[in-house]
């Protein structure tokens, strides 16, 4: 799988449409029998449809010509029976594929969702979610319709055309041959059409995905757009994308129209030649008038199957594009997988170590060094370590390595001496719980959100209910999230996108409660208190101290107050840990640390200045900063 998520280029190595579609077989599975059955029902229905005129002819030639009143009723009943049979076959054709094909669609949708959840964060960084969505919804719907309808009709109509052509030749080999030779251009045009249409079809489906992404962003970023009154501006770029899609669609229609012209013209030319030739042959006595009529009658039967090939071909090509897009995801190699033979850490003591860890983002240009450039750090069991460094220096990335949201480029992260890559992800993430800076809540109750990391306590099982309540209350108390009791339905209030909207600080506290409730051996907190006010922060810290005394913790910190929670502080600078020690040690020894975390003196000075005269006071700081700043911000 290439790194480019979409707008994949129609490379010359493209596999044929049939082979591309054949990949669906793993998901179609047992439904294939139903599809074949549906084809059979279709064929029988066609045969019955052909038989009815035969019966009519025999009625007209038989009883009616003879004036046999008695025979009219049974023969009419025979027509009725055949008609009922035809309707029954219609029904069968639909009923057979109905459930199986919707199952195929559901199976593919579930597989896609599972795969996407399994793929690492680095994959999701690259793929806009609109692209994923358009695959999961419209592409799979298209594939289902094609299987139930397009495939059946395509195969059967081809069969009908072949049989029809054979019949035509058997009726009159000269006319049949003329008819066939004339249709050769159709195959050439069809072949060329496939290539061009596939390309446009792919482009159109990709552009739909981009458009979905644009819609999503316009809604997720609505506050920014409103704050700046940029709705119109966003509209113009959305509109430009929509226009692109429109012109692709119109181009597609043009190709479609083009193939229709050929599909309609070629048989017309063939038949008009056959008409003149046939009449001449008949005048020469080579052909009876009856044979001539039969020839054109059969050719007329073939008209619809031939016409239908046009749209069935386009349909199949769209289905092929949808299949390709589906497999784009399914074929993506997961770079963060469970080991073939996993190790288990029964009772982790909670020793977290970074050993010569290097990390760079896949798409980071060569000229840049590794973001993490040889990290060595050991968190002793039960120890709380604060991680301090400038904005953008890789602190968040470093925390993400602990639960393998990303994998190290080289080196290793170990838990109790075991490489995190040797554990299953499931187990690893049970041992280590995280709280993110941008606190994501899901559309579920407060309770479910907080107990997210404790699936065994979920649900209404009375056996676990009491324990669940206890864990919930404790976590809410530690995170100072008592506000939830004031929500309309207390802890049962639905939050997240589909529920109550909470403030940043409230969400952050719930995310913290969630991490605490998980009762992990190691807690990884990414600036967990940034949105809290001072008083709340102080209370959370007091409560956290208890939890942290028995839990290993890695806390990304920006403020001295958060640092104070830690036993030791690690300073991340230029991709390395340049100093480890207590807050006061580092204040004493590291100039960079003083610069990053500031100091009480500085703040106090600024504080007093704020009240009186700030500009003057800024001066002395300037003398320290420029050099530092240049070094620090890089």
């Amino acid at each position: 799988m290439s790194a480019t998520p979409h707008h994949h280029d129609p490379s010359p190595a493209r596999v044929g449409t049939v082979r591309a579609l054949f990949r669906l077989r793993t998901y179609v599975g047992p439904a294939m029998i139903a599809i074949v059955g549906s084809m059979a029902a279709y064929l029988v229905a066609q045969l019955i449809a052909l038989a009815i005129p035969q019966v009519l002819e025999s009625i007209v030639d038989g009883p009616l010509a003879d004036g046999d009143r008695e025979a009219v009723v049974p023969l009419s009943l025979l027509v009725l029976a055949l008609g009922a049979g035809e309707a029954a076959m219609f029904a069968l054709r639909r009923w057979l594929v109905l459930t199986p094909t919707t199952r195929v669609e559901a199976r593919m949708r579930n597989a896609l969702y599972a795969k996407l959840q399994d793929l690492p964060v680095s994959f999701h960084d690259r793929w806009p979610s609109g692209q994923l969505l358009s695959r999961a919804v419209s592409d799979l719907g298209l594939i289902r319709r094609w299987l139930a309808f397009g495939l059946v009709l395509l195969v059967m109509n081809l069969v009908v055309i072949l049989v029809g052509a054979a019949i035509l030749i058997s009726m009159s080999w000269v006319l049949g041959l003329v008819y066939l030779v004339c249709s050769v251009p159709l195959w050439i045009v069809g072949y060329r059409f496939e290539g061009r249409y596939s390309e446009v079809s792919r482009r159109s489906q990709d552009q739909s995905g981009d458009l979905a992404t644009a819609v999503e962003e316009s809604v997720h970023g609505i506050r920014v757009l409103k704050a700046f009154g940029r709705g119109k501006h966003a509209l113009s770029s959305f509109r430009a994308q929509a226009e692109q899609l429109r012109s692709t669609e119109i181009e597609k229609a043009r190709l479609d129209a083009n193939i229709w012209v050929w599909i309609l013209i070629v048989p017309t030319v063939a038949l008009s030649i056959c008409l003149v030739l046939g009449v001449w042959l008949a005048s020469q006595g080579e052909l009876t008038v009856g044979q001539l009529v039969a020839f054109f009658a059969t050719a007329a039967v073939l008209a619809w199957p031939i016409e239908s090939i046009g749209f069935l071909l386009a349909f199949s090509l769209d289905a092929r594009t949808a299949t390709d897009r589906f497999f784009d995801i399914m074929d993506s190699e997961n770079s963060v997988t469970d080991p073939a033979r996993s190790v288990s850490v029964e009772r982790p003591r909670g020793e977290l170590a970074f050993n010569a860890v290097h990390f760079r983002y896949q798409d980071s240009p060569e000229r840049f060094g590794d973001l993490l450039d040889g990290i060595d750090l050991v968190l002793r069991p039960g120890e709380t370590m604060a991680l301090v460094g400038l904005t953008g220096c890789g602190k968040t990335t470093m925390t993400a390595l602990t639960t393998r949201l990303y994998d190290v480029t080289s080196g290793s992260v170990t838990l109790d001496g075991v490489d995190v890559r040797a554990l299953t992800r499931e187990e690893l993430r049970t041992h280590i719980a995280m709280a993110f800076e941008d606190a994501t809540l899901f559309s579920a109750s407060v309770r479910d959100n907080v107990l997210l990391g404790r699936p065994e306590l979920a649900g209404d099982d009375p056996a676990t209910r009491a324990e669940a309540d206890r864990v919930l209350d404790e976590a809410l108390r530690i995170a100072q999230a008592g506000f939830v009791h004031g929500l309309p339905d207390g802890v049962a209030t639905k939050v997240g996108e589909e529920g109550m909207s909470l403030s940043g600080g409230q969400r952050q506290r719930l995310a913290l409660a969630r991490a605490v409730a998980a009762k992990p051996a190691v807690l990884v907190l990414d600036d967990p208190l940034s949105a809290l006010d001072v008083a709340t922060e102080a209370r959370v810290e007091a409560e956290l101290r208890d939890v942290l005394s028995s839990t290993t913790a890695l806390i990304v910190a920006h403020r001295p107050s958060t640092v104070m929670l830690a036993d030791r502080v690690a300073l991340l600078e230029e991709g390395r840990i340049t100093a480890v020690g207590t807050h006061s040690e580092l204040l004493r020894e590291s100039e960079h640390y003083r610069f990053v975390i500031s100091s009480l003196e500085d703040e106090e000075r600024r504080e007093q200045a704020g009240a009186s005269d700030l500009i003057d006071d800024a001066e002395p700081m300037e003398t320290v900063e420029p050099a530092e700043r240049k070094e620090a911000i890089r």
């Binding site: 639909r94 919707t102 419209s138 704050a227 017309t268 008949a282 007329a300 102080a538 104070m564 700030l614």
Partner: protein
């Protein structure tokens, strides 16, 4: 107020007759307004279909002429008739083919024109709707309106017109021919219309319900999908994949089930149509057969009537397909028209007042704010923020600071009273002037896909590159941006993936700086910054705020240092108001907060 106005009741799939009528009316009104500008093209399309259908019907007649007239003539060595027939067949065939091709591209044009218009309207309208709406109507649902619902409408427009017109034409022509040939058989055909109508009515009622359910099911599917993908980090970190798979699996099954039911209806309806058709053929044959035996009917006429009866039902399948896409599109249109019917609770003024140059004097007069009458967030208060003043809002989480700020930015309108800027009520201020004068930067610094420069330029789209760089420099974001792989042209990935939270805040600061508003509101806009960056931002703010009104909400009281005035809020009320030094020196809440904060700096 009705129960189904706007997006109310959207999740239901059963409506009372009155509700159904209301929903249908608004959908049709929407459809009408979309098709109105395309009238000429629609008529043209119609004409093309009629002519091409006629060309198609002419084919067999020409062949018959070629055989009946051409053959005897050729026996006389006269090539004229057969040559003429061959040529005529070729010409009508070619004309028919080109007309169909014309139809295809014309239909695509019409359909795409409608779609783009609808996309634009929905997009613009969702942008217009207030935050209140967005907080309850999930992004996933809007996305599903804009994607899967539009797909349904598109299907109708692409194929529907053709199916409908051709089908109806064909049936009408055939029926006329039948009646003209033999009115008794015509009566039989007429009789079959009764079960046909009953069947169709049954189908209509059932399928409408099912299609609505299908729309709701697909929307829930999309909502869950979007939520999972947006929160993938938390999903993976808390191992909720399996639970999600179960829940998503249930939604997939719901959707599958309702789809299967829709298809099941068709699997009953379509074959039933065929059955009615075939019964009609048998009855025509029976009745006609007796009359032939009695000598009341020619054999040839009987044959023709039977064939015509059969043909009459041929386009039924096409019509059913049309009806399928129509129903599906109609339920999609119902949902979309619901969103479009939503009135923005913060509407644009009918008679906007211009304010070319705002000074930045903000005044609250007798303002009260409540979500619902029993949930008062801000009790009645007055407040005057003179132009140029920098005001810090402090207080614990949930004290109403953000709400007050959002009233100034007109994210909400007050329930009572007036917020005005330079004496102009915000509700009557021209939106363009309002947004130019007042800008709010929030804690969630959202980045759109595109380059860093694009994201900053959002503050003022016509800004030059140099101005963009200057604003980044002013807030101290320049250095880190220069350090990105492609500097200002670096693509910030999805959701700003590769840029840290603090850097996102710096970018959104630069954005606000570039916008250069008269009133700037910063709601926790520096919460994720490290201390050195915050210091730089504050230095930038010194110059930025010098000549403008500013409202700053920050938990870190260091920010307060640059304020001229501090407002302390508690339970929606302003409990202290004064200069920072004054309040620190006093014994009020701010003094206590300040002391606590100083302790936290140890």
């Amino acid at each position: 107020m009705s129960t189904v106005t706007g997006v109310q009741g959207e999740e239901r799939h059963e409506y009372t007759t009155a509700e159904s009528r209301q929903i249908r009316t608004r959908s049709l009104r929407l459809l009408g307004s979309l098709l109105q500008p395309l009238r000429a093209q629609l008529w043209l399309t119609l004409a093309i279909i009629v002519v091409s259908t006629a060309a198609q019907v002419a084919g067999p007649a020409i062949i018959a002429y070629g055989i009946d007239q051409g053959l005897p003539a050729l026996m006389q060595q006269d090539w004229m008739p057969v040559g003429l027939a061959g040529l005529a067949y070729l010409v009508t065939g070619a004309v028919g083919a080109f007309l169909i091709a014309w139809y295809i591209s014309l239909a695509a044009r019409i359909s795409q024109a409608v779609l783009i218009e609808l996309r634009t309207r929905v997009f613009l309208h969702t942008q217009k709707l207030s935050l209140e709406f967005h907080e309850s109507y999930t992004s996933g649902r809007i996305i599903s309106r804009q994607t899967s619902d539009l797909d349904a409408i598109r299907e109708l427009l692409d194929e529907g017109i053709n199916q409908l017109v051709r089908g109806v034409l064909y049936m009408v022509f055939t029926a006329i021919a039948l009646v003209w040939l033999d009115w008794v058989s015509g009566l039989v055909l007429l009789a079959t219309l009764v079960p046909l109508a009953l069947l169709t009515r049954w189908f209509q009622v059932r399928s409408q319900k099912m299609f609505r359910r299908s729309r709701v099911a697909s929307a829930s599917l999309i909502v869950k999908f979007v939520e999972t993908m947006t929160g993938i980090r938390a999903v993976q970190a808390f191992r909720t994949q399996r639970r999600n798979e179960r829940e998503f699996g249930d939604l997939v099954e719901d959707y599958r089930d309702v789809n299967a039911r829709v298809l099941g209806l068709f699997a009953v309806y379509n074959p039933s149509l065929a059955l009615i058709g075939n019964i009609a053929v048998a009855v025509v044959l029976l009745v006609g057969g007796f009359r032939v035996v009695d000598g009341a009917l020619e054999v040839g006429v009987l044959l023709a009537t039977v064939l015509y009866t059969k043909r009459f039902f041929d386009p039924m399948e096409e019509l059913a397909m049309f009806y399928n896409s129509y129903q599906s599109a109609a339920s999609a249109l119902e949902k979309i028209s619901g969103v479009l019917e939503e009135e923005p609770s913060v509407p644009d003024p009918a008679h906007p007042v211009d304010l070319w140059k705002a000074r930045g004097h903000v005044r609250f007069e007798g303002v009260e704010f409540a979500y619902t009458p029993d949930r008062v967030v801000l009790p009645r208060f007055d407040l005057d923020l003179p132009a140029g003043q920098t005001v810090a809002l402090v207080g614990s989480t949930g004290a109403g600071k953000s709400t007050l700020a959002k009233l100034i930015a007109r994210f909400y309108d007050p329930s009572d009273g007036v917020v005005d800027l330079d004496g102009v009520d915000l509700r009557s201020l021209h939106p363009k002037d309002l947004r130019r004068a007042i800008v709010m930067v929030t804690q969630e610094a959202y980045l759109f896909s595109g380059s860093v420069a694009d994201n900053i330029a959002l503050g003022r789209p016509d800004a030059s590159y140099d101005e963009i760089v200057a604003s980044a420099k002013a807030v101290g974001a320049h250095e880190f941006i220069e350090g990105l792989p492609n500097g200002y042209d670096t693509d910030v990935n999805k959701r700003g993936g590769r840029v840290s939270a603090g850097q996102r805040q710096l970018i959104s600061f630069a954005r606000a700086f570039l916008a250069d508003p008269a009133v700037l509101i910063l709601d926790e806009a520096t919460s994720s910054l490290d201390i050195p960056s915050e210091r730089l931002v504050q230095e930038g703010l010194q110059s930025l705020l010098a000549d403008r009104t500013a409202v700053i909400i920050a938990h870190r009281l260091s920010t307060v240092a640059i304020a001229d005035r501090v407002l302390v809020m508690e339970h929606g009320r302003i409990v202290e108001d004064g200069a920072p030094s004054e309040l620190i020196g006093g014994s009020g809440r701010f003094a206590a907060l300040h002391a606590a904060w100083r302790d936290s700096l140890v």
